[in-house]
């Protein structure tokens, strides 16, 4: 397999184990020469715990490397398929060090893929050319691949309609029907590998308040959960482009337990549960609504308003709170929220990327926005992560999903359907479950 030949780099050798060593040692070792010359952090690598878990990486021969881990990690191989672990050319890095231009590793990338970087114009476009030396030449059917940076969703759709571009992404829910009706376009779609949910802060006291937090009680969470009219939300917020979520991860994720059922929508029973929990009519909680649109939640404000009205019917007064996105995340990691809207798109297809990353005790200061640390659950997912056998892992994850459903740290709302509008002339495009846009094997009819 060859690295790209460009006007700024001409590889003298094919891809080999030295490149893998360079890539991982750069992420592992702060004193690695390239990292010293161009200091940077590797947040995904750290977030996956790889910095702590990889003991060493060794070259066995030209085409074999050996990773030694401190602990068994069944998700390790899946994690290696994520973008941050893309292999960099050690030879190119050497050249950049000698030239004193290490920053070019980001600005002028070199890889082995089907398209070769050719030009970047800030905020305007990124141009690639088809890679004639690609190891699977049949996959390269486009000579020029251009990404036109267009941030506004309505403008993107107008460009597509006028054939100024051939593939686009993230249509607004309201645009989906008109786009489907356009004969010059096609609209492939796929159940999204994502989940939009309500996270209930289960801390005894919400940060910054001296009052006891009603959401710390299981009965209150159960009541709120069964008072949510999910079907209505799917119709209004997702405008039909969503699938009702029951579980804490999407049904396409292996180890998903399809025997788990939602508590039936039952406001009367919810009122009863609140009474048993000693919650007075008109009790106030905060409901945080995201200020941004995400694939898992196209309109958090509307969703919050619908939840507010659902919960008002059982006597819970939800005060909608919203902050600028950076602030929203920071404050909620600190635990200032009551109930909050959030979600996740899968990174790598491993169940731990949901059940561990979002609801595990290790994530309480991070993505575990419920601040829910429940030992029986945590023991199961830790054990599963250290179990290499997939059948055994599946069993453990299924048990964990049952516990999670019973303890209600979250109410799953929906998995949004991903729509990818494109010209009818585009052939061979596949929607990636990981929200990537890959152009392997894609062609455009003239």
């Amino acid at each position: 397999m060859k690295f790209h030949t460009t006007d700024y780099f001409k590889p003298s050798r094919p891809f080999n184990a030295d490149d893998v060593l360079f890539t991982f040692n750069r992420m592992l070792d702060k004193d690695q020469p390239f990292r010293k010359a161009y200091p940077t952090e590797f947040p995904y690598f750290t977030d996956m715990g790889m910095d702590k878990n990889i003991a060493k990486v060794e070259k066995l021969d030209e085409h074999t490397v050996k990773f030694t881990l401190n602990d068994v990690d069944a998700a390790f191989i899946q994690n290696l398929a994520m973008s941050f672990a893309s292999i960099q050319s050690a030879e190119y890095a050497d050249q950049l060090l000698k030239q004193g231009k290490p920053a070019d590793i980001n600005q002028k990338p070199i890889g082995t893929g089907p398209f070769v970087f050719s030009k970047y114009q800030k905020d305007a476009q990124i141009r690639f050319k088809g890679n004639k030396d690609y190891w699977q030449p049949d996959d390269v059917k486009i000579d020029n691949l251009i990404f036109a940076i267009t941030t506004d969703a309505s403008v993107r759709m107008q460009k597509l309609k006028k054939n100024e571009c051939q593939v686009t992404l993230f249509p607004r829910p309201a645009d989906i029907e008109p786009l489907k009706a356009d004969k010059n376009l096609q609209m492939p779609h796929q159940a999204g590998f994502n989940l939009g949910y309500i996270a209930y802060n289960v801390m005894d006291k919400v940060k910054g308040s001296n009052e006891p937090n009603p959401l710390a009680q299981l009965k209150v969470r159960q009541a709120l959960d069964m008072a949510v009219d999910k079907q209505k939300i799917i119709e209004s917020v997702y405008q039909g482009a969503g699938q009702l979520a029951v579980n804490a991860m999407p049904p396409t994720q292996w180890s998903y337990d399809s025997t788990i059922k939602d508590a039936p929508f039952d406001p009367e029973k919810a009122k009863q549960l609140l009474k048993e929990a000693g919650i007075k009519d008109g009790t106030e909680i905060t409901l945080w609504a995201m200020p941004v649109q995400r694939p898992y939640n196209p309109n958090a404000k509307l969703m919050a308003e619908m939840l507010q009205s659902d919960w008002a019917k059982i006597g819970i007064k939800a005060k909608i709170v919203s902050y600028e996105w950076g602030e929203y995340i920071k404050r909620s990691k600190g635990g200032e929220q009551g109930a909050m809207l959030i979600g996740w798109s899968g990174d790598n297809g491993d169940p731990d990327n949901w059940l561990g990353t979002l609801y595990g005790c290790d994530a309480v200061d991070g993505n575990n926005f419920s601040k829910w640390c429940y030992k029986p659950y945590d023991d199961l997912i830790k054990q599963a992560k250290a179990t290499p056998d997939q059948a055994k892992r599946t069993e453990l994850y299924k048990q964990a999903q049952h516990i999670l459903k019973e303890q209600v740290p979250i109410t799953p709302i929906a998995h949004s359907t991903v729509y990818q509008p494109m010209s009818a002339k585009v052939k061979g495009f596949k929607i990636s479950p990981f929200s990537l846009n890959a152009f392997y094997g894609v062609s455009v009819d003239q």
Partner: protein, 336 residues
């Protein structure tokens, strides 16, 4: 005249420091730091966070950070973007020609149409045309830019197919940015049809961005013209038997232009502010879009120095306008 210029220059120094302090403080008042914003929903490892903050120099106390910032400014160092690690100056100079080209086209459009409409409205005071121009300019002034841009795209680009939807040039052209001004670069390139394509791309954004200045200039020209046309010297010119065109354009408009000139200067600020929205709608790669994204990403050096550079530009333009105004109107020069 020299003391007038010196007085004006003297005012620039505190203004300049005021801006540095304001931008420095404002961006830091928005909660969340660059590392946290970059991580979004993900967990931020405290150790990695501390490392990154140290590398970016953001772990020091605020007064020390401000002194660092001003110290670097004094040496002409605008720092580098936290996200792209490119020098802020280089990024600004890459993107600024796009904004300048758009702003100049918008000002040209607003100036020509605004002056003409204002003069005719003044001459035909009370007529249907006059009421029409004033009504339209009020509507133009109050129009939300975002909505106006999308309406024009839907009508001219999608329904009629006359203009392209967005961008500076069709993606089929690969124009080497030599000057950064697309109109000039396309003329220098040998790609056939690229200049015309660049002009077509410029039309809608220039109209959208020029709408508010157009409205202001038309109204200002009208009222200033009406005042001048009532002056004794205009009556004298008419009595001398000069042609109506000469009376209007030489004796009338020339004098009526003095207040309009100030408005032109003030509109530079409006244009740069409007560019933020216009560039977002039309995917125009200029400094407006750049700053919006930098604010979202808490890219402190870009926000601080980007705003500083724009502020300097606005100050400079208004300074030049002040001087021109002083030259044209001696009464201003002698005021203390």
């Amino acid at each position: 005249m020299l003391s007038f210029i010196a007085r004006r220059l003297g005012l620039l120094i505190p203004t300049f420091f005021g801006i540095t302090l304001l931008t420095f403080a404002l961006i830091r008042l928005i909660p969340g730091d660059p590392v946290e914003v970059m991580m979004g929903e993900r967990r931020v490892d405290p150790e990695m966070h501390a490392q990154a903050m140290e590398r970016l120099g953001l772990n020091k106390p605020l007064p020390a950070q401000y002194l660092d910032y001003v110290g670097k400014l004094a040496q002409g160092d605008l720092g580098e973007s936290l996200r792209t690690r490119e020098s802020v100056w280089r990024e600004f100079m890459t993107l600024f020609p796009a904004t300048l080209e758009l702003a100049m086209a918008a000002l040209l459009f607003a100036g020509i149409v605004g002056l003409l409409a204002g003069v005719i409205a003044a001459l035909k005071r009370g007529s249907l045309f006059d009421h029409g121009v004033m009504g339209l300019s009020l509507a133009g002034y109050s129009m939300p830019i975002f909505w106006w841009g999308l309406i024009l795209i839907m009508f001219f680009s999608v329904s009629l197919g006359w203009t392209p939807v967005s961008g500076r040039i069709d993606l089929l052209y690969d124009i080497e940015p030599k000057t950064g001004f697309m109109l000039i670069d396309t003329l220098l390139s040998d790609e056939e049809g690229s200049f015309k394509d660049a002009v077509m791309h410029l039309i809608l954004p220039a109209i959208v961005l020029g709408t508010i200045p157009l409205a202001v200039i038309a109204r200002m020209t009208r009222s200033s013209m009406l005042e001048v046309l009532r002056e004794d010297y205009v009556r004298t010119a008419r009595a001398k038997g000069l042609s109506p065109a000469r009376v209007v354009f030489v004796h009338g408009l020339r004098n009526a232009l003095i207040p309009v000139l100030t408005v032109f200067g003030l509109q530079v600020g409006t244009l740069l502010a409007g560019a933020v929205l216009t560039e977002t709608i039309f995917s125009w790669p200029g400094i407006g879009k750049w700053l919006i994204e930098a604010i979202g990403a808490r890219d402190y050096p870009v926000v601080q120095n980007g705003i500083l550079l724009i502020a300097c530009l606005v100050i400079l333009v208004n300074f030049v306008v002040d001087i021109l105004y002083g030259l044209a109107n001696p009464r201003i020069r002698h005021q203390r």
